[in-house]
């Protein structure tokens, strides 16, 4: 038969080319990023974009701190200062926190529940690009916002944009419009991604992965996604109303026409406080995965952890007005919101005790992910305690809008959230790139950043007690505020090399890092069952699980978990 064929035996059928995979030139790399619907690539893009905006917003924070080093400093003009703290806050919440959590969710959830992609891959890509352009739109305000009026530049109304600062009369030009539209757009992306997360976890779990066997990471993201779809629409509604006010002359927040500036505050914080939990629960999610693995024990109190998370989410929908004690509410309102705020500390405390219970009697491995998680526990405790202090109404009257509040929420968002992000990156980087992050550089990062962080934000508790209001662009000498501000600024100067070590480590280890293998931490969840980095389809054969720790069962067939669950 071979003799009468006319086919050249050396001829090979060319492999079908796929868009973006033709070569490795820059245009192909970019094409690949733009066209991809793969949850892992999108996850990394979310995290990469989040880190990019983190650096930009961090530079703004640094400039703010330099301005506050000396009293009566003229380093920044007041209007530039206002734009910086507005852009810093908005970017850190919407362009750093949100994409980072969605990045982790995107990358990990499908692998952890043993499926090949998110339920709606194209919606996923849509969510990312909508978020990314909302970020560009916000920063484009620096060029676009002066507009025809030639007034204003970037938004300068603060990240919660209280009315009537945003009214046409007080915010001329288009800066507020850029802020509004950017947030509206980013909200659409977050909603799309959250619906995607919910559908993926409810409908695509591998065989045997019952809800009770899902990794806590996935459980917490289910709760986060629920919170997003319930709590984000109020923000979108706010922005729609504000746009109607500014463009069509509606009277929502126009006090002269019977409108109400306080309504904005209610609507904003109905979103704004659940948002805090939307951001911090993913931090808990990461800690839930890392602490057991590095304590060599299963998580303590799995069902209680889930219940506490659901409780936090539920209560968080009813605490918003603790941001508004100084606005003037009835004593019934004050009491209600003070109590609900204190109550939310209960499930949060349960979580802390469960993490301690996980570590208790465990064989602790002080690797980088664990070290960041330990710092998280300690710092989150401080953040929680100052939070409970602020829930006491008279205390809040004294310290609302002071640097004490700044210190409190930076302990939450940096001390807790950012530390777990770092922990997560050190933990899952080997999975994503197949190489370990350098341990030595990592510890330099940890110590510099931790010392710098506490030096920056601990003194702000004290300057707050001494009466320094937030958002002031300078202060008079002789009030005892100088030393605390100067310590704060020096802390930032120490944090910066820490971040540089981190960024350098990310790049260095990508090329020179130690080979990681599939399961460098001897962990138990499904993402470690596939190769590092995982193939595009995640698993050659969809796994089947029988317990909460499928890899433990695989590694210890004589003593599997499912016998005890």
């Amino acid at each position: 038969m071979a003799s009468d064929t006319i086919v050249d035996p050396d001829f090979k059928v060319p492999a079908p080319e796929r868009v973006g995979e033709e070569g490795k030139t820059w245009s192909h790399v970019i094409q690949n990023l733009v066209f991809t619907v793969d949850h892992k690539k999108l996850g990394l893009m979310y995290i990469g974009a989040g880190l990019l905006f983190f650096v930009v917003a961090g530079i703004m924070a640094t400039l703010i701190r330099i301005q506050l080093f000396f009293p009566r400093s003229t380093f920044l003009d007041p209007d530039v200062f206002n734009r910086f703290f507005t852009m810093h806050g908005t970017a850190m919440v919407f362009l750093v926190g949100m994409p980072m959590i969605f990045g982790f969710a995107n990358y990990l959830i499908p692998i952890m529940i043993g499926t090949r992609d998110m339920a709606y891959p194209r919606l996923n890509a849509f969510g990312f690009w909508v978020f990314f352009f909302s970020g560009l739109l916000l920063y484009f305000s620096y060029f676009g916002a002066p507009g025809l009026y030639n007034a204003g530049s970037a938004p300068d109304v603060g990240w919660f944009a209280y009315s009537p600062l945003t009214a046409k009369a007080f915010s001329r030009g288009h800066s507020t419009d850029y802020w509004t539209l950017s947030i509206l757009l980013g909200g659409i992306g977050s909603l799309a991604t959250s619906i995607n997360i919910l559908v993926t976890t409810f409908c695509l779990r591998c065989k045997g992965m019952t809800l009770g066997r899902m990794p806590l990471f996935v459980w917490l993201f289910v709760v986060v996604a629920f919170l997003v779809i319930i709590a984000l629409p109020p923000l979108s509604a706010c922005q729609i109303m504000l746009t109607l006010d500014r463009y069509l002359g509606a009277k929502f927040f126009d006090t002269q026409a019977g409108g109400d500036a306080v309504l904005w505050q209610h609507f904003f914080w109905i979103f704004g406080h659940p948002e805090v939990y939307i951001l911090i629960l993913p931090g808990f999610a990461i800690a839930n995965e890392i602490i057991p693995v590095f304590s060599r024990k299963p998580i303590f109190g799995y069902p209680i952890m889930v219940a506490a998370t659901v409780m936090i989410a539920f209560i968080s929908l009813g605490v918003w007005a603790h941001h508004m004690f100084t606005v003037g509410m009835t004593s019934l309102g004050n009491t209600f919101f003070a109590i609900s705020t204190m109550v939310i500390a209960v499930p949060t405390g349960i979580k802390i005790f469960n993490w301690l219970g996980t570590m208790w009697g465990g064989k602790l491995h002080f690797d980088l992910p664990m070290v960041f998680c330990l710092a998280f526990l300690f710092q989150f405790l401080i953040a929680g305690l100052t939070g409970v202090m602020l829930s006491v109404v008279p205390f809040d009257w004294q310290l609302s809008d002071s640097y004490f509040v700044v210190a409190h929420f930076h302990y939450v968002l940096i001390g807790a959230l950012l530390y777990t992000f770092f922990a997560g990156i050190y933990y899952w980087y080997p999975k994503a790139f197949g190489r370990m992050l350098n341990r030595k550089l990592g510890f330099w990062h940890f110590w510099l950043f931790t010392i710098g962080f506490h030096l920056t934000f601990f003194p702000q508790h004290i300057s707050g007690f001494l009466g320094m209001p937030r958002r002031i662009f300078t202060y008079e000498a002789g009030r005892g505020w100088e030393i605390w501000n100067q310590l704060s600024t020096i802390g930032v100067i120490i944090q910066i090399p820490g971040i540089l070590f981190f960024v350098y480590n990310l790049i260095y280890s990508y090329f020179k890092g130690e080979e990681a293998g599939d399961d460098p931490w001897d962990a138990w969840t499904l993402e470690w069952a596939t190769t590092s980095p995982p193939p595009e389809y995640n698993f050659e054969k969809i796994p089947e699980v029988r317990s909460r720790r499928p890899l433990w069962d695989l590694k210890h067939p004589d003593d599997p978990d499912w016998k005890f669950e």
Partner: protein, 198 residues
């Protein structure tokens, strides 16, 4: 493992339908959006400093409401005929649904025309105008989206692109339509029955 075993194990692992979970999530998030506009409407009831006031200009839209509520029934009937494979009656009832929805949109347009040109009530007249047009407008825009979805179904059916495998797609669009109706129950009660006392 034999293929018989494989199919067997695949069938006893049941997860909910993606479309249903996705649609429930969408409805949840839309409900949250509407809630805020409803709260804004309630918050500003009786707060307008100048007229026109709700009791002067609003009239209960009986006919339009009956049309919209009726369309929830007709869409269910149409779905039944689709399941039975009776395409002709499916088309008839589905088109009736679209006609009822379209009448509702026409009514809203006519009402707004009357309010704007005859009663001088615009979105910038007073807080009643702002909250009224934003709430009713948000609902009307959802009716319009629903009409587009309904039209896509009937057009693809006419072009022979709708096969029995699409019954859940159709069901989801019906769910969305019921949701739009349910919102109208709230809007109708609040705007045309409660706020006209102010």
């Amino acid at each position: 493992m034999s293929s018989a075993e494989l199919t067997n194990t695949a069938s006893d692992w049941k997860l909910p339908s993606q479309r249903k979970v996705g649609m429930i999530c969408l409805i949840l998030t839309e409900s949250s959006l509407f809630t805020i506009f409803v709260v804004a409407y309630v918050w500003y009831m009786g707060k307008s400093l100048n007229g026109p006031f709700p009791k002067e200009v609003l009239h209960v839209p009986w006919l339009a409401s009956i049309a919209l509520f009726g369309s929830s029934f007709t869409v269910t009937i149409a779905e039944k005929f689709l399941h039975k494979g009776n395409r002709a009656l499916f088309h008839v009832w589905w088109l009736i649904t679209i006609a009822l929805g379209a009448y509702f949109v026409y009514f809203t347009g006519a009402e707004w025309y009357h309010l704007i040109y005859k009663e001088n009530l615009t979105i910038s007249t007073n807080v009643f105008g702002s909250t009224f047009y934003s709430l009713v407008g948000l609902h009307a825009s959802h009716v319009i989206v629903g009409l587009i979805l309904l039209s896509i179904v009937v057009i693809s059916s006419f072009r022979g692109k709708l096969d029995p495998g699409h019954s859940e797609h159709v069901e989801m669009i019906a769910w969305y339509w019921h949701f739009v109706d349910a919102i109208w129950v709230v809007v109708l009660t609040l705007v045309y029955f409660i706020s006209v006392n102010y």
